[in-house]
Symmetry: C2
Subunit: 238 residues, 2 copies
């Protein structure tokens, strides 16, 4: 888009951003896309990392686009919002994950005034607006109690442990996700296809870029029963 070339920044062995590597990439970048809590890794970046990256980007004149749609699904750590550390940050969020409202198709963007003015022009022609029905529903959700979100966070934490421990017992070794509701599990294409054939849906890692080949993404936004059943099928398949 706009003549840019996307480049992935390899993560460290805990799926975290290597701040020094990120700074190097920023030396020649116009835009950095941050995503913490991360899809597909489930990694949550520390406040120190976010702050260092945003401030370095600001010095270099690069815009940070911070996708924070999983901000409410952080299990042991804390969420840090990039927009707190600089002015040249565009924050993306949505009702989709926070309130389990994916089908309602409503998100929002916060950023510098001149950026938003330009973005609205594109938005007008591509979308006009989100459905008015969805806008009223989201208004009720954001103005309502956050208790349902807390409840889902606790539930996702249980599901994460269920799936993570199950996969570990089956011999898969990978960092425990700290947020979102995904895990990125190392496996070769053959294993992946056996699991798929057993009726367990996962996304092949290459859908997430060249750095994620030989991984597969599993979602635990599924009932405990279905996760248990999936683990049984994976055990039989691999």
């Amino acid at each position: 888009i706009a003549g840019g070339t996307p480049k992935g920044i390899p993560l460290d062995d805990k799926f975290h951003i290597d701040v020094e590597r990120c700074k190097e990439a920023l030396d020649n970048a116009a835009v950095l896309i941050l995503n913490s809590p991360g899809n597909p890794t489930g990694a949550v970046e520390s406040g120190e990392s976010i702050k260092a990256i945003v401030q370095y980007a600001e010095d270099k004149g690069a815009t940070v686009i911070s996708d924070e749609v999983y901000e409410h699904f952080v299990y042991e750590k804390k969420h840090y919002s990039a927009g707190c550390y600089g002015d040249n940050v565009v924050t993306i969020n949505a009702a989709s994950k926070t309130f389990s409202m994916t089908g309602w198709r409503l998100g929002y963007v916060a950023g510098p005034k001149d950026f938003i003015e330009q973005a609205v022009k594109i938005h007008q022609y591509c979308q006009t607006c989100a459905s008015s029905v969805s806008q009223y529903a989201a208004l009720a959700a954001y103005n309502g109690s956050i208790a349902c979100v807390d409840e889902m966070r606790r539930e996702y934490a249980v599901r994460r442990d269920l799936l993570y421990n199950g996969l570990k017992e089956l011999g898969f070794d990978f960092p425990k996700p700290e947020g979102a509701f995904y895990m990125l599990v190392p496996m070769d294409r053959k294993q992946f296809e056996k699991i798929l054939a057993a009726g367990v849906v996962a996304i092949p890692g290459d859908a997430f870029g060249e750095n994620a080949v030989n991984y597969a993404r599993f979602s635990y936004a599924a009932s405990r029963e279905n996760i248990a059943e999936a683990l049984r099928r994976i055990a039989t398949a691999v």
Copy 2:
């Protein structure tokens, strides 16, 4: 878009497409956008015109994009769908006008298989999908009785006559709209601004291209009471 340059084709004095002029334009065109019933004119093209244009476009290898969102709001004439006369036609329609569901943001496209395959790629990244709530609502609307649409057509016809006769009495002289729920009324910028200042909302003609300067578009998708009130205010303003 895609390096194309949009060119308006001047209409005849009844706001209809001049087929010969349209053919000339097609000699150097990749795409023709047809819109009958038309916004902002309210003109409805004859079957002969649509057929002649689509067949000529097909011969020249130009794609016809036919916006037919007002197809159900034709008052004395009949609606002819461009897609009936050729294969290289992309038909655009929506629940928005047909079922007064503008806020639900759901439309559809019908066209050649290879066109749709490419369009889906863009759609996936720009929209993902229409809201699931809207999809179920539209499903109910399209599978339900058409009686409510017939009722609105009869009502719009009454409103059209109310607004058209009122404007004629005030001295505005223009072709009577045959469809949709708009009228394109000739007036200079001064008159337009007086009417706006009187609290009657209209759209300046230049929003519809260089051929519509010195016109203003009025919508009669408003209650009879509001149309009567608007006429009173216009009478005082001009």
